[in-house]
């Protein structure tokens, strides 16, 4: 939810009284330039085909992060809470799908035409289930604390994250679970050394469709308008006759449904799940939401894509053990120079 408040652009950071801003900026810029030259040299060395291939993987990866990040950003936009349980709702989506697929008699190796309908049903059911769970979480753990000190709901969010992980742990145990490999293995050749598989297309397709539907809903529908109004000023929205509780519950529902879809798609793409997956995925997705400017749906989508691409470029061109460091370093740099994220607007202090 954008906050349509006309405001001046964020002013660049100044370290008055500490170090001369020019010195710091120069040092950081030189560092960024050096890293940039190194990256370009690497990319040049491996050739354009490899570059395009990594880009494809990055977009697919990023689509999943975008699906999770949108839920984070919506919830934050409406009640200013970092919903730590969100990453685990994402995992829950994958787990529910994993339990549902055998019920439809879906097995690996069946032709795509036989699989596609059960998969769609599974996707929808998982989304609804995750949405329901998240509404329940909001009702139990966040709504009673709406007027409590700001950090109290944060702690219940952590508690809910542990609870969800605990339930999934009890359900399937501490192991990596195999998610059936159902999508066709066909790959379309895009160019020399570059292919895109049905898996990548599915992931990207699901993310794009859901994001478009969501943004249409938020911008065009009456409920979407209510959500935007609530995000902007809860009291005023209430005075205008908007049912705040329903609107907030709806936000939680939609956010979780997207995360649940992300979980199913993750399972289909990577064919592996584990109960504590949501922790790091949630962390990256939250990073993506902040990177894009928290509270902004398009920002979350762009941030998710960016994080996914940074991840696959770091994995593909450098050492994957440093990927996490690279992601968070990019985050810190972006926030230092653009304190409200890429698409975020400056919100006046309340």
């Amino acid at each position: 939810m954008e906050r349509p408040i006309a405001a001046p652009r964020a002013t660049p950071i100044r370290l008055r009284g500490l170090v001369s801003s020019r010195v710091v900026n120069t040092i950081v810029l030189v560092l960024v330039a050096v890293v940039g030259v190194l990256v370009i040299a690497r990319i040049w060395h491996r050739g354009p085909g490899y570059f395009a291939q990594i880009l494809v993987y990055g977009v697919a990866n990023g689509s999943i992060y975008a699906l999770i990040a949108i839920g984070y950003t919506m919830v934050y936009g409406i009640i200013e809470l970092i919903n730590f349980a969100h990453g685990d709702v994402f995992t829950l989506g994958g787990f529910v799908a994993l339990a549902l697929l055998p019920m439809f008699g879906v097995k690996e190796g069946q032709p795509t035409s036989a699989v596609i309908l059960p998969l769609l049903i599974t996707l929808v059911v998982s989304m609804l289930f995750c949405g329901g769970v998240n509404v329940l979480i909001e009702r139990i753990a966040y709504r009673p604390l709406r007027h409590a000190p700001r950090l109290a709901p944060l702690i219940t969010a952590v508690g809910m994250s542990f609870t969800l992980e605990g339930i999934m742990f009890l359900w399937r145990g501490p192991f990596f679970l195999h998610f059936p490999d159902l999508l066709p293995r066909a790959r379309i050749v895009l160019g020399p050394d570059t292919t895109i598989g049905a898996k990548e297309l599915t992931v990207i397709g699901v993310a794009v469709v859901l994001t478009i539907v969501l943004s249409l809903f938020v911008e065009r529908s009456k409920l979407g308008k209510a959500m935007r109004a609530t995000a902007q000023d809860r009291d005023a929205a209430q005075l205008m006759g908007i049912d705040i509780n329903t609107t907030i519950a709806l936000t939680f529902f939609i956010g979780a449904a997207l995360a649940g879809a992300g979980g199913v798609v993750f399972g289909l793409y990577f064919n592996s799940l584990s109960f504590d997956l949501g922790f790091s995925a949630g962390l990256f997705a939250f990073t993506a939401a902040v990177l894009g400017g928290i509270g902004n749906i398009y920002g979350a989508a762009i941030g998710g894509l960016l994080i996914g691409m940074v991840q696959s470029f770091s994995d593909g061109y450098f050492d994957s053990t440093w990927t996490q460091v690279v992601i968070f370093a990019v985050l810190i740099l972006v926030l230092v120079f653009r304190p409200t994220g890429i698409l975020g607007m400056r919100v006046p202090e309340k």
Partner: protein, 403 residues
């Protein structure tokens, strides 16, 4: 007349829960080791000494979160920095780098080195980022908290990567206690082998006491009032002439320094450091300790950290044992055995660990959103709702509560 008596009754220090808590804590700190030593249970004392490290960390994070109102989600990073500074400079490990025998600097010096290095990193991270609004700062600190253990893990030759550094030196008594001049009067102290839990316990107790006094004084100083002003309304604080960036940076650095201090002690106590000890989970645990105890109120934070430490490191690991014992005494031995999908009662209960901890967190926060022992000022604000309702009596009561 009656009003005066009433005020006397209300401001009587004996009715102040904080005084009561401090008294109980000090009494427990003295009695428990004596009882434990008499019953020969050195394990318990070791556990309390470990809990002391978390008390230190929680007090430090309380400066950042409770006093200055800055949400820090990467606090364990400074803990790691302190621990690794100690481990590098007081272990044989650096021999691998070509330094014969490694470096063995004295414990008491390194406590402060760890502290200052951590504070330096805190200032380094804080300087460019403290202008960010609340939750952006939280995510930057979270990122830093993830970066530090990763870097430590990846810098193989310098830090020994995942394997960590072992055989770290244990603490020694300060030179002025163990020097040649320390004759019989100090015999108890000099004879104390620091390797044993009682020695650690004593050092820990002294360090915690010193930190509590220091932080309490800070809270009542000009700086402490500035922190509170920034926490309540940053714009108004700036308008009143508080240099908000500097004051926030100070909170950040002081918090980090306490964490580094605790880290150095922890490394010497465990005699081993590894990057896995300093994950995001540790940062969250410390935050939970602060919020659950009662943000901004030092005795509350101490109680909160002791409670959470007990739940996480004693209650939950022992839970399967308890449940198995109960089932045994009830004669229900059937559910103890593993069969099919059922992993046996003990194993099943140990799998419940996450769930139980999560539910405990949710339940306590729902029952006491302000924490177990909230700061008096904050409690009054909460009860009265808004500032507009606050009367002069409230303000006097609140200010006498804080001093």
């Amino acid at each position: 007349m009656i009003a005066a008596l009433r005020r006397l009754w209300e401001t009587d220090p004996r009715r102040d829960p904080n005084t009561l808590t401090y008294t109980l804590l000090v009494a427990a700190a003295i009695v428990v080791p004596i009882v434990a030593a008499a019953s020969g249970s050195s394990y318990l004392i070791g556990q309390i000494a470990d809990a002391g490290v978390f008390v230190l960390l929680a007090i430090g994070l309380n400066v950042v979160v409770g006093f200055a109102g800055l949400l820090d989600l990467g606090y364990a990073a400074f803990f790691a920095i302190g621990a690794y500074v100690y481990a590098e400079l007081a272990s044989p490990y650096l021999e691998a780098m070509g330094i014969h025998g490694g470096i063995h600097l004295p414990f008491w010096l390194l406590l402060f080195v760890g502290m200052f290095v951590a504070a330096g990193f805190g200032a380094l991270l804080g300087a460019p980022t403290l202008r960010l609004r609340g939750d952006y700062l939280a995510i930057v600190t979270l990122g830093f908290g993830e970066i530090v253990p990763r870097v430590v893990r990846n810098l193989g030759p310098l830090t020994n990567g995942v394997n960590g550094i072992s055989a770290v030196d244990p603490p020694e008594m300060p030179v002025w206690l163990s020097g040649p001049w320390s004759g019989d009067p100090l015999k108890i102290v000099t004879d104390l082998k620091v390797g044993d839990p009682v020695g650690y316990y004593l050092i820990m107790a002294v360090l915690v006491a010193v930190c509590v006094v220091l932080v309490n004084n800070l809270q009542r100083s000009r700086i402490g009032r500035a922190w509170m002003a920034v926490r309540e309304d940053e714009v108004a604080a700036a308008a009143m002439g508080v240099n908000t960036v500097r004051i926030k940076l100070l909170a950040f650095a002081i918090g980090a320094s306490l964490s580094g201090f605790g880290g150095a002690f922890y490394a010497s106590k465990l005699s081993y450091v590894s990057p896995d000890t300093f994950s995001f989970l540790v940062s969250v645990t410390i935050l939970v300790m602060v919020v659950l105890g009662g943000m901004g109120n030092i005795p509350g934070v101490i109680v909160g950290s002791l409670v959470i430490y007990y739940i996480l490191y004693n209650f939950l690991p022992d839970l399967p044992g308890y449940v198995t014992a109960i089932a045994n005494s009830l004669g229900a031995t059937g559910i103890l055995q593993q069969s099919g999908d059922w992993p046996g009662l003990g194993e099943e209960v140990s799998r419940l660990k996450f769930l139980v901890f999560g539910l405990i967190l949710v339940a306590t926060m729902l029952l006491r959103p302000q924490g177990l022992m909230p700061s008096r000022v904050r409690e009054q604000e909460l009860q009265k709702g808004t500032h507009e309702d606050t009367t002069i009596e409230d303000v006097t009561a609140a200010t006498t509560g804080v001093g």
